[in-house]
């Protein structure tokens, strides 16, 4: 009884706008849960993935949300290892965004694998030679680190008033923040690059098999992850109508993101010009020919990844005329995020559309693969977006994310 009364009181403090917001989130989650139920019931046959294109939209979501969660380890390292204290005001939000991204990836993965009931197998049956095994472990460990990093924030909630000993433990945990930051940095550098290696080591797929893959993955994650956190903090400020993070901090993150994207752009051109040149076997040339003939690969690459994902954000983040206006910074972050998603999609799907050619003859009888996500796949994607927004909303509502009086 008492709890329901309290809940009502809490709910009544929420404005009608926020009720509408929760209605939308509920709708997103309902769509997601329905799609997931359809997938679990019927099997992955209800997706548009096939033996030719065994990975699709969901893997793109996994890769993107882990990359976009990179703000957590980057900013933790900046604050706790490099001792740049002014970023403390955003660090809790960064960890929350990171946590949301990683859990979103795990949720998607559970739906994507054929045997969700065996999700725990990588922890028990080890193949130390597999990048995917290493990634699973790194993500598990890093998720644990993020939870430990975030526990002190969580127990500041009034709810924990009755158990003071939990606060004491949390206080000790908070003292260990530099250790968590160091572990998080190492583990993240490892798995963020391994996600690229997932593709880079596959000999059978000509356009994937190159050493530049892990470096491009990690650099794009480090550049765009913090920028997403920056944009989220702006949006929260707009909604709440309060200043929470000093503008100077956000602008510095945007500038860092701008320079990071420039470095990423440099790597991409090196990859485009040099790596592809040295690795231009006949099968690579043939693959690009097929891609350009059958898919909007070139458009996706130049428009989605380069112009939208790099050039426009770099301009918005670094030009003195635009980087003082929050709207432009948030817009730039949105483009950069889209660029990362474009890139992960392009890498995954384009590589798989090219048929594996193994016959010794001269004619290829294998048709290039075709793939566009089915409604179930889009539905799960919408559900995941709903989940991300819900966690962020609840975090902002109930947690002291912007408590700057940290010692």
């Amino acid at each position: 009884m008492a709890s329901t009364v309290m809940d009502q009181r809490k709910l009544s403090t929420w404005k009608p706008n926020s009720k509408l917001w929760f209605l939308i989130l509920g709708l997103f989650l309902a769509i997601g849960l329905t799609s997931a139920a359809v997938v679990f019931w019927n099997g992955l046959i209800v997706t548009n993935m096939s033996d030719k294109v065994p990975w699709g939209l969901w893997i793109t979501i996994d890769l993107s949300s882990i990359a976009l969660g990179a703000g957590a380890f980057t900013l933790s390292a900046v604050v706790y290892l490099f001792g740049v204290k002014q970023f403390r005001s955003i660090i809790r939000l960064a960890v929350l965004v990171g946590f949301t991204g990683y859990t979103a990836a795990l949720l998607t993965l559970i739906i994507d694998i054929g045997r969700p009931d065996r999700f725990w197998h990588p922890w028990f049956f080890w193949n130390v030679h597999s990048v995917l095994w290493e990634i699973t472990w790194c993500i598990t460990i890093y998720l644990a680190i993020m939870i430990l990093e975030f526990l002190p924030v969580l127990v500041e909630n009034k709810f924990f008033n009755r158990w003071p000993w939990i606060r004491k433990i949390a206080h000790v945990l908070h003292k260990a923040a530099p250790a968590f930051a160091l572990a998080g940095l190492l583990i993240s550098l490892l798995h963020q690059s391994s996600l690229g290696a997932t593709y880079g080591i596959v000999k059978s797929r000509p356009i994937w098999f190159k050493p530049s893959m892990p470096i491009m993955f990690i650099l794009s994650a480090v550049a765009v992850g913090p920028v997403l956190t920056m944009a989220v903090s702006y949006v929260i400020e707009w909604i709440k109508g309060v200043k929470l993070v000093p503008d100077q901090v956000k602008r510095t993150i945007a500038r860092f993101g701008g320079f990071g994207l420039l470095a990423y752009a440099y790597l991409k051109f090196w990859d485009y010009a040099a790596v592809t040149y040295y690795g231009r076997t006949p099968s690579v040339s043939q693959s690009f020919f097929l891609l350009n003939q059958d898919t909007p690969y070139n458009f996706g690459f130049w428009f989605g990844e380069i112009i939208l994902g790099i050039i426009i954000p770099v301009f918005l983040f670094l030009s003195p005329r635009t980087n003082k206006k929050p709207v432009y910074l948030v817009l730039g972050a949105a483009f950069a995020v889209l660029g990362v998603i474009f890139n992960r999609w392009n890498v995954t799907v384009s590589g798989l559309l090219i048929p594996v050619q193994y016959s010794p003859g001269i004619t290829s009888l294998i048709e290039p693969g075709k793939y566009f996500p089915a409604w179930t796949e889009w539905g799960v994607a919408i559900g995941i977006i709903g989940y991300v927004l819900l966690v962020l909303t609840l975090g902002v509502r109930f947690l002291p994310l912007f408590n700057t009086d940290e010692h």
């Binding site: 019927n42 099997g43 992955l44 046959i45 993935m49 096939s50 033996d51 065994p54 990975w55 994507d112 694998i113 054929g114 045997r115 065996r118 999700f119 197998h121 990588p122 049956f125 080890w126 193949n127 130390v128 030679h129 597999s130 990048v131 995917l132 095994w133 699973t136 997932t198 080591i201 596959v202 000999k203 059978s204 797929r205 798989l352 048929p355 594996v356 193994y358 016959s359 010794p360 003859g361 001269i362 004619t363 009888l365 294998i366």
Partner: protein, 278 residues
């Protein structure tokens, strides 16, 4: 002014304790990672001790046999009997054939027929990428699947350079197999939904045959269905490690190729090209 400042290193008790704890912690961590039950190395070591009952991803056949196949493209007439016998014996779904047959052209424009089982690579990309060791190389060189362990991530399917792996996108309850009983009777269970499957060189025949003292490749009961049914004898199966076996003789007498050899996958399947060349 030129007096040297005395530099004193003050080691407080706190520092001392921190250093001590770090040192002890490192030693413990090293212990856990190298010898403890959580250590990857201990798993590998244990397997070595147990004579690799469940082999690590290993490279190649370590035992006394190495099963391989020769496919003579010059003899193949494209009848697809191998496909049918395989699909019946292993109860393979029609659109998921483990053993495919295609019509190909050589550089002079002449048609030849090409068929492909799983090549049982000795440096197998699929085995390397599996996050749970659900697929592994046996002592006798066979690349096999553990359907009970596969989580269905499909990374092996993505990594296979020969498109030899198929995923069970849906359950196969009581659907008819059009190849049964004309082309054979299923000898293995259907695979469940959500796991990857592939050609096994009819592992059930090899294992049962060896128990009975038969020789795979010579006694039909111990030989893969596709080899037995071939009406023109285009497929030869046997022990690559035994120089007396038929397959070793065939390999000695003919020049052969392996598929995508540049990838270094060391397939166990060899091809004799058509007389007119490729």
């Amino acid at each position: 002014m030129s007096k040297k400042k005395k530099v004193s290193v003050a080691l407080t008790r706190r520092d001392f304790l921190t250093l001590g704890a770090t040192a002890v912690g490192s030693v413990l961590a090293a212990q856990v990672f190298t010898t403890g039950p959580l250590s990857p190395f201990s798993v590998l070591k244990q397997q070595q001790i147990e004579g690799a009952t469940e082999p690590s991803i290993g490279h190649g056949a370590a035992g006394k046999n190495h099963w391989g196949m020769v496919i003579n493209l010059d003899k193949c007439i494209g009848c697809e009997y191998c496909l049918r016998a395989c699909s019946a014996t292993n109860d393979v779904r029609e659109d998921m054939a483990w053993n495919v047959v295609t019509k190909e052209k050589n550089s002079t424009g002449r048609t030849f027929f090409f068929s492909r089982p799983c090549l049982h690579c000795q440096v197998a990309p699929c085995v390397e990428v599996c996050p749970v060791r659900a697929t592994y190389i046996r002592e006798d060189g066979l690349v096999v699947m553990d359907y009970e362990r596969c989580i269905g991530c499909r990374y092996c399917e993505v990594a296979c350079p020969y498109d030899a792996r198929k995923f069970n996108w849906e359950a196969r309850p009581d659907e008819e197999n059009p190849y049964v009983p004309t082309w054979g009777i299923p000898e293995v269970e259907r695979r469940p939904r959500g796991v990857v499957e592939k050609c096994t060189f009819c592992i059930q025949r090899i294992d049962k045959g060896l128990e009975k003292g038969l020789v795979p490749g010579e006694d039909m009961e111990a030989t893969p269905a596709c080899v037995n049914i071939c009406p023109v004898g285009a497929r030869v199966f046997g022990d690559l490690k035994n120089p007396e076996s038929q397959i070793s003789q065939v390999l000695e007498e003919n020049s052969t190729i392996r598929l995508r050899e540049e990838l270094g996958t060391e397939p166990s399947v060899y091809y004799i090209p058509p007389k007119e060349g490729l």
